[in-house]
């Protein structure tokens, strides 16, 4: 559990605070996404948690301990840290990179080697091939996989991730988001994730904190932020298509009703998001979609009306 209590930070001679009395509680095992326009203080806030930036005032507690009372170096070794440009050490092999924190903690070499292989496999990079390669031989997506593996090496309970997929092309980014979501959820880490991409936030976050001028404007689940934006700013920030965004969070399966689908109804698997189902129906000029199970067996249909109701229900 991470508690941020009235954090304040301003830089240089600036009258405007980068972070202004910010308070937030992040539950264990949650992915908390910090998002907001440029200069809203999201990265500064994240970097205060591992004291890469020292707050002017306020308290930060990680796992019940006040971070200012712990030695900064020791603190950072217990928190995973992933940055946008990855920052792999170019003069070390991938194995040496991943082994950095375990080495500092004094693990024996056998344990380290095993852990390195375990982690490279976890991020889908065959250890036998990649163990002794160098960062310059990797693509952007591969580099960040290794970056995450490196951050997970000492099995820290908390991870800080600053726009980790920002420098990666959209196709690879989508794939990485899915993979890491799965990995991180499985490992049960508490994650603070900074991004400027609202779609990424909705996809990745258990709860999203929307920041503006150093303050939290709304802190809620993606669902509630989309259906009940706190003010005009949040509404504008999430984008004009928030109903569609909400529909992307719901899958067709639970909304199936009985009946024979029309002839022109597109056939879709049960896991299809409602948004994609809607899109398919519009493409086909149909009012409903035929939903099928994993073996292709017909399960029923989802109608346009049902989708509209789903959107409406979520709004209340």
């Amino acid at each position: 559990m991470i508690t941020l209590d009235r954090l304040t930070k301003s830089f240089g001679g600036s009258a405007q605070s980068a972070v202004d009395g910010l308070s937030l509680t992040i539950n264990t095992g949650e992915i908390c996404v910090l998002i907001g326009p440029s200069g809203c203080g999201k990265t500064t806030t994240m970097r205060m948690i591992n004291r890469m930036v020292e707050p002017d005032s306020g308290r930060i507690e990680v796992g019940g301990r006040d971070v200012t009372k712990i030695d900064a170096v020791e603190l950072r070794r217990s928190i995973g840290y992933v940055i946008q440009q990855v920052g792999l050490f170019p003069h070390m092999t991938l194995a040496e990179n991943v082994a950095t924190v375990p080495r500092m903690l004094g693990w024996d070499s056998a344990r380290i080697a095993k852990r390195v292989d375990e982690l490279l496999a976890l991020v889908h990079m065959d250890p036998a091939i990649y163990r002794n390669r160098f960062p310059r031989e990797l693509s952007g997506g591969q580099k960040q996989r290794v970056g995450v593996a490196r951050a997970l090496a000492a099995d820290p309970p908390v991870m800080l991730m600053d726009e980790p997929f920002g420098a990666i092309d959209p196709i690879t980014r989508a794939r990485l988001q899915d993979e890491f979501l799965r990995i991180l959820r499985e490992l049960g880490k508490t994650i603070v994730f900074v991004t400027h991409d609202i779609d990424e936030a909705i996809r990745m976050g258990s709860r999203i904190a929307i920041l503006r001028s150093g303050k939290v404007v709304q802190y809620d689940t993606p669902e509630r932020i989309l259906s009940h934006p706190a003010d005009a700013f949040v509404e504008a920030f999430v984008g004009g298509d928030r109903s569609l965004k909400r529909l992307a969070l719901l899958t067709a399966g639970p909304y199936v009703e009985s009946g024979t689908p029309a002839a022109n109804a597109p056939r879709l698997p049960a896991a299809t998001p409602l948004r994609d189902a809607l899109s398919a129906m519009l493409d086909a000029g149909a009012n409903e979609a035929a939903i099928v199970g994993e073996q292709g067996q017909p399960l029923g249909r989802v109608t346009l009306q049902t989708i509209q109701q789903a959107a409406a229900v979520a709004r209340t």
Partner: protein, 213 residues
């Protein structure tokens, strides 16, 4: 001509080897002393923006001063001989080593440094495991430049009584004796070329595998 030069060496072995010895001793000592001063100083200063800029600017001015002028300026103050020459040569070596060290340290990938600090590396570990290995190629380039400059300057040390192979050259010019001249010029040219080659190889060796182009 070459044969005559060779005969000269054969007939004056003690003189030759002494001059060679002095030359190498002067050069090596100046390089080592300059390195011991400049590399730590460069590392200490590199992260401080204002100070490192001032040092680099001062070093650049120092670099433009003709070696012989530096040697000559030292003479009225410190006199002639090995020690004054060593002092002057060390001064000459300071600028290239300190500039290359600073540039090398500042050129280290900032993201790697951020990640390292964020992962909980101490300052010492950061310097030793991340910054120095990455700055090493540049530092060695500085040492290489300095080494060649020192060997060249050590030739001129003959003018202020420093000894070394320059003595043969000056004697040869004074007496218009070409063989004697060559006895000084050829070995020192070989010494300079050899040192340059050696340091070049060392520089390549010191470049971490992950950084080789």
């Amino acid at each position: 001509m070459l044969a005559e030069a060779w005969n000269y060496v054969l007939s004056h072995p003690a003189q030759f080897y002494r001059a060679l010895g002095v030359h190498v001793a002067l050069s090596a000592s100046a390089l080592i002393i300059a390195a011991l001063i400049c590399i730590p100083a460069g590392i200490a200063v590199a992260r401080k923006n204002g100070l490192s800029l001032a040092v680099v600017n001062a070093a650049n001015v120092g670099r433009t001063l003709p070696s012989l002028a530096v040697l000559a300026l030292v003479m009225p103050i410190l006199g002639t001989g090995f020690a004054p020459a060593l002092f002057a040569l060390t001064l000459i070596a300071l600028p290239p080593i300190v500039t290359h060290t600073i540039v090398g340290m500042r050129g280290v990938d900032a993201d790697a440094v951020d990640a390292a600090v964020g992962m909980g590396m101490t300052r010492a570990a950061l310097l030793w495991r991340v910054e120095l290995p990455m700055a090493l190629p540049a530092i060695f380039a500085g040492l290489r430049t300095a080494a060649v400059q020192i060997i060249s300057g050590a030739v001129l040390a003959a003018f202020i009584g420093g000894g070394g192979l320059g003595d043969f050259i000056t004697a040869g010019i004074a007496m218009m004796a070409v063989p004697q001249l060559l006895v000084g010029a050829i070995p020192v040219a070989l010494l300079a070329l050899g040192t340059d080659f050696l340091f070049g190889a060392l520089q390549r060796r010191m470049t971490p595998q992950g950084l080789r182009a």
